[in-house]
Subunit: 472 residues, 2 copies
């Protein structure tokens, strides 16, 4: 066991924005040079040219002939919440739990994380910084042919590493049917060979790279959102002096992260609010064949909503120098528009609070998950078109620049989504601005939201926003 | 808002074993006199005499003609855990979220709970003490004809009451398919009429009645298991002096309930252990027709396992003076044997710890839920027949009396189960006894287990055991 609590070690790494191996700007250059060297070419092709992927004759579901990877089928959705909504949509189904794993190691008393530069066909820049390991269960149990994923044994074998963080978390409930990944960070003490395309970075460096558009992957974001930065118990900052919220947004966030039970609401009150919504709101989903999805049409090139809204399912041919398989075809989900996701933040009683939405999405395991104040993107948002939310959208989108604490374009998993970009934002409202808050929203401290995250109640859009918060 | 935190108010009520309205022994007499006055007669009848209940011709599923209440269908179960198991079984399906609600009110500064004496056909004594309100969604939205349940508006209308506790919790995963109830306690300040068959009791009185077999219902037990007794934050006992664990088992339990993050494991370590099991273990369930269930046979009188194990589904005719409908027929689940559920407890480092099992059951929402050390009953226990557990069963069942801290027969919901009794036990092991602990078990403080319970991770068998703990 390490003499220091892991929260303190993560916090120190988060506050260190230059690493010993290279600078943050060198890290950005390293990623971009990987993209240039790997020459990934992606071309949309008709479904008929998808090779091993084909539509099932009976249902129209889109599947790989092996039955592996993922499939696209239909979902019939009925929601009773603040309003009632019914729709059909295509949804990606990938029931296996995958691993998103990062190896951590201490150098000179500071934690570093082994990050990988990886190409995916749907990435806006081609390359992104991803976790040490991204593997499906089929990958690491080797159902497919192909090499065993590099470093995966450090995730699975407790003789090789010690677990620091291990969460089972859901992905996008708008596009995936209850897809989960294991978000795991393990620590090693031995030296290991660093393969080409991998580098050691501090948590602060990863967060600094999150200020550049599209460099850090969704998978990295969700894993680092699970890292606790504040000790539990009577001395939440251990031997460090507690931050002074008056000295800046980063310090105020750290102070808010230490507030777990008390904010404008207690954690108990928040859980009771969530129980009430879960009992009153109803989500009914029924799996249907992709051919039976009403309001969507399949052409030779795409499956699209009849009003061109939400997203399309397309096929692509990919050629690459950098992967074990150098040429492949696959379906991808292409968004209709750029998304907007963000939290409104406000100082309430001396502590920063985030405005959190309880949200129904068709792929949720429970009807309701906790989401950002605004989440506009792939989702078929008929369910949440109530008018008070449009005022919140306007506040986030049209905020004067002096209220904007973070604003950057980020993109979602390029192995499933084609150029799905969203504007990620944190906007701090002035203390005298009190917009009406709908019943399905609550102000929470960062500590309360982190506590919910720890128990799997926070959706990936909210987690990935939280990962962008910089405390330095 | 009340000037005192609710935890302190619940704790004071839990420590008060005699109420102002009547004594605990009067409460027991009141329950038994209700049973005598109500003259409930229950007779097993062939399925053909079940009236509105019939088998679906295509599937064999047993349903009410209205489609309401619940149905019995088949489930095909495949488990990969410590060992692999496959089986078919009948399962009860009742997808609506019901309400189990208790009204609380302060008299002379002490919280009392409005409890009801209610008859159910499957109760061993006929009567049991149940929550103020037991209602299905159909009841209170009045899909059926019939009176609106008494007091239900206090549960639903926030102008009439204040919520003290509100949890969504699962019922038996061995017999129900993902059945959930809302466990809610609301406080009122006004005087309300106390209808015949209802009485105000302290939490300590309810716990005292749990020392008599079969008087307090499963529904009461699960609700009171959700009541927090210890304040959060740096002063967990508020203005009360902290208990001295050396003065007895009750005080030692209160001290253990205050330990949330630290025990022999941290809460983080326990959550990571659970994540690991959820990722490695797999539960696959497929709904099948009741006629397709292998290994079970239906006669004119029952659906039974071919080895007479686990449970039977039977039909009963009920006649009653005490209910709005005075005569009805329904299916019930009858157990093959009496069950045994219990926790092994041990002082580890000065704090009591309970030995908790991670358990797969077919009706679980997640593959794994937290369960007592021993849970023998309805369940098809092929999945957990590993040998180390048999040693734990022997320790619980055959413990010398000086180790036994609680032992009493309790029965499960008499509206669904016919005379399902289990021996409920807490056994405290001597400090020098160190039985081998399988990987799927962990020692936890009561505070850690309560924290898991708050987030819905603890099964009903464990919750109902915890409700029996007396701190007085």
């Amino acid at each position: 066991m390490h003499p220091q609590p892991k929260e303190r070690r993560f916090r120190r790494s988060a506050l260190t924005v230059e690493g010993r191996f290279f600078t943050t700007s060198q890290a950005a250059s390293w990623l971009m040079s990987t993209a240039e060297a790997a020459r990934l070419s992606v071309q949309q092709v008709p479904f008929a040219e998808l090779g091993e992927w084909a539509f099932d004759e009976a249902t129209g579901d889109l599947r790989h002939r092996s039955g592996k990877f993922f499939q696209v089928h239909g979902l019939r959705v009925a929601i009773e919440a603040e309003s009632t909504a019914h729709w059909d949509q295509p949804i990606l189904d990938q029931p296996e739990i995958g691993i998103l794993g990062i190896i951590a190691k201490e150098f000179d008393g500071l934690l570093y994380f082994l990050m990988q530069a990886k190409m995916e066909p749907g990435n806006p820049l081609g390359v992104q910084m991803v976790p040490t390991v991204q593997a499906t269960r089929s990958n690491y149990t080797q159902v497919h042919q192909g090499a065993r994923p590099l470093y995966v044994d450090y995730m699975l074998d407790r003789r090789l590493s010690r677990v620091l963080v291990d969460h089972l978390q859901y992905e996008q409930g708008s596009a995936f049917f209850r897809k989960r990944n294991r978000n795991i960070v393990v620590e090693i003490t031995e030296d290991i060979p660093v393969s080409p395309g991998y580098q050691w970075l501090t948590l602060g460096q990863i967060k600094a790279l999150l200020r550049t558009p599209n460099l850090v992957s969704m998978d990295t974001r969700t894993v680092i959102s699970c890292l606790p930065l504040i000790e539990r118990g009577p001395a939440p900052f251990g031997t460090d002096s507690p931050p002074d919220p008056a000295t800046g947004f980063g310090s105020a966030l750290l102070a808010s992260a230490a507030e777990r039970d008390q904010g404008v609401h207690t954690l108990d009150d928040l859980l009771q609010w969530l129980t009430d919504l879960k009992c009153r709101w109803q989500l009914a989903v029924e799996r249907i064949g992709l051919d039976s999805v009403r309001g969507w049409a399949r052409s030779a090139h795409e499956i699209a909503h009849e009003d061109d809204r939400f997203f399309r399912v397309i096929g692509v041919r990919v050629e690459s120098d950098s992967r074990e398989v150098t040429r492949w075809t696959q379906p991808l989900v292409a968004p209709a528009t750029k998304g907007l996701v963000g939290f409104l933040v406000k100082n309430l009683g001396g502590t920063l609070h985030l405005l959190v939405q309880a949200r129904i999405e068709p792929g949720n395991a429970e009807a309701v998950a906790l989401a950002p104040t605004v989440q506009w993107g792939l989702g078929l948002d008929q369910a949440s078109s109530a008018t008070p939310t449009t005022a919140l959208v306007a506040l986030l989108r049209d905020a004067p620049s002096e209220w904007v604490r973070y604003s950057c374009t980020q993109s979602e998993e390029g192995g499933r989504f084609f150029g799905l970009e969203s504007e990620y934002r944190f906007v701090e409202l002035p203390e005298d601005l009190n917009p009406p808050i709908p019943e399905s929203y609550r102000w929470m401290t960062l500590g309360q939201l982190n506590e919910m995250l720890r128990f799997g109640l926070v959706n990936i859009e909210a987690r990935n926003l939280l990962s962008c918060l910089s405390f330095a």
